[in-house]
């Protein structure tokens, strides 16, 4: 929003200080409560360790909750807007990097965005460049075939471009960089997309106008909503991204001010600023910490800010969409890549000249992946504690004839548990309440259904959280042990998993769950009840993975784009139908989905 723009630096500093202070207060309170609980039977070293672990974990939870509360209690300031009739004078290119993606689905999005831009009537000449890093020759041939179809369908000669790199050096960041080095001077702004991105033409035009109106603006990020999810897992993610994320994103935007985020796609960049600031070197050392910068987007945002450019998240911009993983395994694979990228930022966090907030953002990104380790450490320490605890001494005072019984401090532990659950649940419940009051819930089926969906999402995430926690923990250990996760292709199919696949991906989680529950029963039986909500989902991980990958058609967790698809989604569906069912569909097309409904065309690769 340029929410707290220049001149409001004091307000921004106060807001950040307040947010950090509140989070610290929650963490320290948890720390003290746990110390009192632990001291009931005599304080030992393990109690202090556990108190520190709970301090860090609570601090992290509280930071997320405070972001949500800021989002709930603030209203986006109007960004500098140009008049709606302002002519588009900038030369704009829309970049679609692809890597072994289904060209039918990908290029139909390009066609839909082009049609949506044409429908705005602004008359500007937006160019599209498909930047292929595809390694699979069969897919590359289909890209060429379908690109030709795209060009013909949209009369795109001279506006649509395609190139495929011989070497995909630097992965996606290198792909964009190669474009800028080859063609960057031909354009003023570039809209960077992912292969699954879809944006309304009106949104793109508005972004261009905002960038034209603010010469200091180097990057303008939108908040993409997840669309077209079908599985239970996908729909839960879609609901969360659509219902909760806008509020949390507003909080984030308020805190970040002009040192905003870049999430790698659905963002407009000023090409001269990007070229000037964002040439990424290889980091010293070998992967996973050295080599190419993996999570390049965070780094590019920090570098633009270092160069004095404004990086802004305008969360009021709608019409920005992406697709997400349909099952836990695909989510974990993507998370593995992000984990390595974020941990790699440990080498950059002390980089010269970076803004303090950029360093803080890197720290947050690292914390997002190591936080589960603190929870896991706390659980393990709690199971171990009874083994290492000294025997109770009922006669601590010499010559005092009466026994001294330990104080019962269970109320402290219960207060702590309530506080932790409050931090987890309260922001989401408040989002539902506010949505009911301000009418936003209508887009989610009404206040009642939106509240039911919120409860369903909370239940769903409670079941999947322990499984995701272990996947994240494994990722961190793999990175720390020096294993490079590479650059796997994203699966964008329907994502349904069979039990053998789920078992292959999660049998180790079952083993850990059974071992953990067994150890608890043997060494700390009083904790068993507390740990069942964590342990049972682990033991049932393969079943949870299969169940959550199945079709999630239900009124619960409905989102606005399910009730009324966005215009650009309709356009894409029409294009897909025309392309895949027309008599001139390429005969060589091995998987022409003519007999399938349009959405099935997404399931090719």
């Amino acid at each position: 929003m340029g929410l707290v723009a220049a001149g409001h630096g004091g307000a921004l500093a106060r807001l950040r200080l307040t947010a950090i202070s509140l989070s610290l207060l929650a963490g320290v309170t948890a720390f003290l409560l746990f110390l009192q609980f632990g001291a009931a039977d005599g304080l030992d070293a393990l109690d202090v360790v556990r108190a520190v672990l709970i301090l860090i974990s609570t601090l992290w939870l509280a930071w997320g909750a405070v972001g949500g509360l800021i989002g709930l209690t603030t209203r986006a300031k109007a960004p500098p807007r140009a008049r709606p009739d302002t002519a588009i004078s900038a030369r704009v290119v829309i970049l679609m990097p692809v890597y072994n993606e289904d060209p039918v689905a990908t290029f139909s999005r390009v066609a839909a965005m082009d049609a949506s831009l044409a429908a705005t009537g602004v008359g500007a000449d937006f160019h599209f460049a498909v930047l292929s890093d595809t390694r699979n020759e069969a897919i590359a041939q289909r890209e060429a075939q379908w690109f030709a179809r795209l060009v013909q369908d949209r009369a795109g000669l001279g506006r649509f471009f395609y190139r495929r790199r011989a070497q995909n050096t630097g992965k996606k960041a290198g792909n964009i960089e190669d474009f800028i080095q080859r063609s960057g001077a031909a354009y003023d702004f570039a809209l960077i997309l992912d292969a699954d991105s879809l944006m309304e033409g009106a949104t793109i035009v508005e972004m261009v106008r905002r960038m034209q109106a603010e010469p200091r603006l180097g990057l303008l990020q939108t908040l993409p909503r997840v669309i077209r999810a079908r599985s239970r897992f996908g729909r839960a993610m879609q609901f969360s991204a659509s219902f909760f994320s806008p509020v949390f994103a507003r909080g984030l935007a308020m805190l970040q001010g002009e040192t905003g985020p870049f999430w790698g796609h659905n963002a407009l960049v000023r090409i001269t600023a990007f070229a000037e600031c964002c040439g990424l070197p290889e980091l010293t050392g070998k992967p996973p910490f050295g080599g190419h910068v993996m999570s390049h987007d965070y780094v590019e945002a920090a570098l633009l800010a270092r160069g004095g450019w404004v990086v802004r998240l305008d969360d009021d911009l709608g019409g920005s969409y992406e697709e997400g993983p349909e099952n836990i395994v695909d989510h974990a694979k993507r998370d593995r890549r992000w984990c390595q990228g974020n941990l790699q930022h440990g080498k950059i966090i002390t980089g010269p000249g970076l803004r303090g907030w950029s360093r803080f953002v890197f720290a947050q990104g690292i914390m997002a992946y190591i936080a589960p380790l603190f929870w896991l450490g706390f659980i393990l320490a709690s199971i171990t504690a009874p083994l290492l605890a000294p025997p109770l001494d009922y006669f601590p005072e010499p010559y005092w004839p009466f026994p001294v019984f330990p104080r019962n401090e269970a109320s402290k532990a219960i207060s702590l548990a309530i506080g932790v659950f409050g931090l987890l649940l309260l922001p989401k419940l408040l989002v539902a309440l506010k949505a009911a009051v301000d009418g936003r819930a209508r887009g989610f089926g009404g206040a009642g259904l939106a509240f039911g969906s919120t409860l369903a999402e909370l239940a769903f995430s409670s079941v999947t959280a322990p499984i995701l926690l272990l996947f994240a923990t494994r990722s961190v250990f793999q990175v720390l042990m020096g294993r490079d996760g590479g650059w796997p292709t994203n699966n964008r199919g329907d994502g349904q998993l069979a039990l053998p696949e789920a078992w292959a991906a999660s049998h180790w989680i079952v083993t850990i769950g059974l071992t953990g529950l067994g150890a608890t029963w043997a060494f700390a039986p009083m904790l068993l009840l507390w740990l069942l909500p964590v342990g049972i989902p682990m033991v049932l991980a393969p079943l949870v993975i299969v169940w959550s990958s199945r079709d999630g058609g239900s009124r619960l967790m409905g989102v606005p784009t399910e009730y009324a698809p966005a215009p650009v989604m309709d356009l894409q569906d029409q294009i897909l139908t025309r392309w895949t069912c027309a008599p001139d569909t390429p005969a060589a097309e091995p998987s022409s989905p003519c007999a399938l409904p349009p959405e099935a065309a997404f399931a090719h690769v």
Partner: protein
């Protein structure tokens, strides 16, 4: 399909008769002619992201953040 497609050009500038043929044998770049990216180079200097070894011990000076790093990568 080929007949209805716009003409594409090979990397050597010779018009191609089949789209798939517009891919050179090793899978490298590709479609020239009107579908090729415009040639309008823009420099993208490498940025300094890391402190040099020894910096924290006071053995090396801090790099200028705006100085270009040695070229690596693509």
């Amino acid at each position: 399909m080929t007949a209805m497609m716009p003409q594409l050009w090979g990397a050597d500038g010779v018009p191609m008769t089949g789209v798939a043929e517009s891919l050179v044998p090793d899978g490298a770049a590709l479609i020239a002619g009107p579908c090729a990216l415009p040639e309008a180079p823009l420099a993208m200097p490498r940025q300094i992201l890391e402190r040099p070894k020894g910096f924290w011990l006071g053995l090396r000076a801090a790099p200028r953040p705006d100085a270009a790093a040695p070229g690596t990568g693509n």
